[in-house]
């Protein structure tokens, strides 16, 4: 269950162009969070909290790793913080990736840009269950690439850049064939990427993690909805998601 918690910034480093990795300490969140959940981070001088995915957890050390890209004033403000400072977060928020404990299969992880982080904690968790992991990570250019090594440690890994400045050239969908056979997929990234993937992999079981501008982040304001395929209604990304079955939602 989500709580309002103070987390202490333990470390802070830039790991790619405009991309910061922050390790924060908090017992409650580190012990309870699941892959795919996020923190809803209060940023000084800003009305609304910022949703940031949990990228990794170290339960022994009570730490949570988050990665964020500086894209606007809120993330720019976060990028001025230093170890020793603390953050006010709600967390862990939302429902994470469903993991079938019985699964003995091959899983494809497909991440795009700043959608990559939640897949890392997912992959690590799956790998611990001896599931075979293949990952495809897409970035704009070489300068934005991060966590390649970490994913390589989980299994076969492909990096793609839009301009070919690193790894394969093109989009993640172009590389799916190379990845070979797999049973189901998990994906997170920009909407156009998710659209392309769910279209390309239609029929395959898959889960996708979505983004939308949020008000409350707890399910109360109806800001962050996504139309569902059957009922004609909406689901809330913050509380029903951010992870959905690929077939469930209309992108």
């Amino acid at each position: 269950m989500m709580k309002k918690e103070k987390v202490l910034i333990n470390s802070f480093r830039q790991i790619a162009l405009d991309t910061i990795e922050m390790v924060v300490e908090n017992a409650y969140i580190s012990q309870t969070a699941k892959p795919g959940q996020f923190l809803h981070v209060s940023v000084e001088g800003h009305m609304l909290r910022r949703p940031i995915s949990i990228a990794d957890i170290n339960k022994e050390k009570n730490t949570i790793t988050i990665l964020f890209k500086v894209v606007g004033s809120g993330t720019a403000k976060l990028a001025t913080l230093t170890p020793g400072m603390s953050l006010d977060v709600l967390g862990p928020n939302g429902n994470g990736f469903q993991i079938d404990d019985q699964q003995k299969s091959t899983i494809l992880l497909i991440g795009g840009g700043i959608g990559v982080p939640p897949l890392y904690y997912l992959g690590k968790t799956l790998a611990e269950k001896n599931i075979e992991i293949i990952s495809i990570l897409g970035f704009q250019t070489k300068d934005y690439v991060f966590y390649e090594e970490k994913f390589s440690n989980l299994g076969r890994n492909y990096v793609v850049t839009d301009d070919g400045s690193y790894g394969e050239k093109g989009f993640v969908t172009d590389v799916v064939k190379m990845a070979g056979d797999f049973d189901s997929y998990y994906s997170c990234g920009p909407l156009p990427m998710l659209k392309a993937i769910t279209t390309k992999l239609k029929g395959k079981p898959g889960m996708i993690s979505l983004e939308e501008r949020m008000g409350c982040g707890v399910g109360a304001c109806m800001a962050c909805v996504i139309p569902t395929k059957k009922s004609g209604g909406y689901k809330k990304i913050c509380s029903d998601g951010p992870v959905f079955h690929a077939e469930e939602v209309s992108l």
Partner: protein, 305 residues
């Protein structure tokens, strides 16, 4: 000893603090953070005659000390709200205010009448000012005659006290207030959001899918205070004030301006505990500025010009 209690038509409030409509859904989410019995009342999300899916996304944008929203009245419809949501809230020792909306006079009547059939709702908040509904094209919230008409209709359709929620997007808010008072309103609720817009530079179009949205948060507090101050001097029905409240000091400012109770909207999003924290801080704040009770402070900031 401070006394936070306030009695308003239909509402025996143990304290003057309530979450504002649309910022608290039907209470379930925030009930995970604290006991809703701490609240003076809960203003439920707007109910319409039938289910509404609302607007496309993006539905919110951040602004300087505020936010824009164009949710578009997404709600499951009054019947389901009465069936599924009111009973949940009725478990708590707090007053329930149902916010009612519609595109037509008939829809308002239908919703008001439906709530009239239940025992657990204590008052209606008549939302004639939601800037995000375009259907029908009728501007209930900006035309005094239309506002009076819908107030009368709702009063007829229900035994419950009616608090009419006024829009700040008008030239003369006093005229609106007088019109609905004359039409039988038991109280006022003010203010709803100011209509605003943000243009997203990368996409070169309005960020909110609905184009315009309602501006809320501390940015609009001075407008809310001004309007309540003006209206209070011209009506004798009580006012539930709102617009940018996030501290006990803000609450006192609203009381001084003439509000008898205060709703907290946008501030819940940054701090889910904002309502109980304000309630806890209020006695000390009243005392600090020399007031014995909430009742004692109401309208005390009004100076005859």
């Amino acid at each position: 000893m401070n006394n936070l209690a306030v009695n308003l038509p239909g509402l025996e409030l143990k304290n003057p603090i309530m979450p504002a409509s649309g910022c608290f859904a039907f209470g379930r989410e925030y009930s995970k953070f604290y006991d809703l019995s701490k609240l003076g009342a809960v203003m439920m999300k707007a109910a319409t005659g039938t289910e509404r899916f609302g607007n496309p996304t993006p539905r919110v944008a951040e602004t300087a000390s505020g936010m824009l929203n164009a949710i578009g009245l997404q709600n499951p419809g009054v019947e389901k709200i009465i069936e599924n949501e009111v009973p949940f809230l009725a478990n708590y020792d707090t007053s329930i205010i149902a916010n009612i909306a519609g595109s037509t006079l008939e829809e308002y009547e239908k919703v008001a009448n439906a709530f009239n059939q239940t025992d657990d709702v204590h008052a209606l908040e008549l939302n004639i000012s939601c800037p995000n509904v375009k259907e029908g094209g009728i501007q209930f919230g900006t035309d005094p005659g239309m506002a009076a008409k819908v107030t009368e209709a709702v009063k007829k359709a229900s035994r419950l006290p009616v608090y009419v929620k006024l829009s700040p997007n008008v030239t003369n808010v006093v005229e609106m207030a007088k019109a609905v008072e004359a039409a039988g309103a038991d109280g006022l609720s003010m203010i709803n959001t100011l209509t605003g817009m943000q243009i997203h530079l990368p996409s070169k179009k309005p960020l909110i899918a609905n184009q315009t949205g309602g501006l809320s948060g501390p940015a609009i507090k001075p407008v809310a205070i001004r309007m309540i101050y003006e209206v209070k001097q011209h009506v004798s029905i009580p006012i539930i004030g709102m617009g940018g409240v996030s501290t006990a000091e803000d609450v006192l400012e609203f009381l001084l301006a003439g509000a008898s109770a205060v709703a907290v909207g946008t501030a819940n999003f940054n701090n889910p505990y904002v309502c109980p924290e304000i309630i806890e801080a209020l006695p000390e704040t009243l005392q600090k500025y020399g007031f014995d009770s909430v009742q004692d402070a109401i309208g005390k900031g009004i100076v005859q010009a």
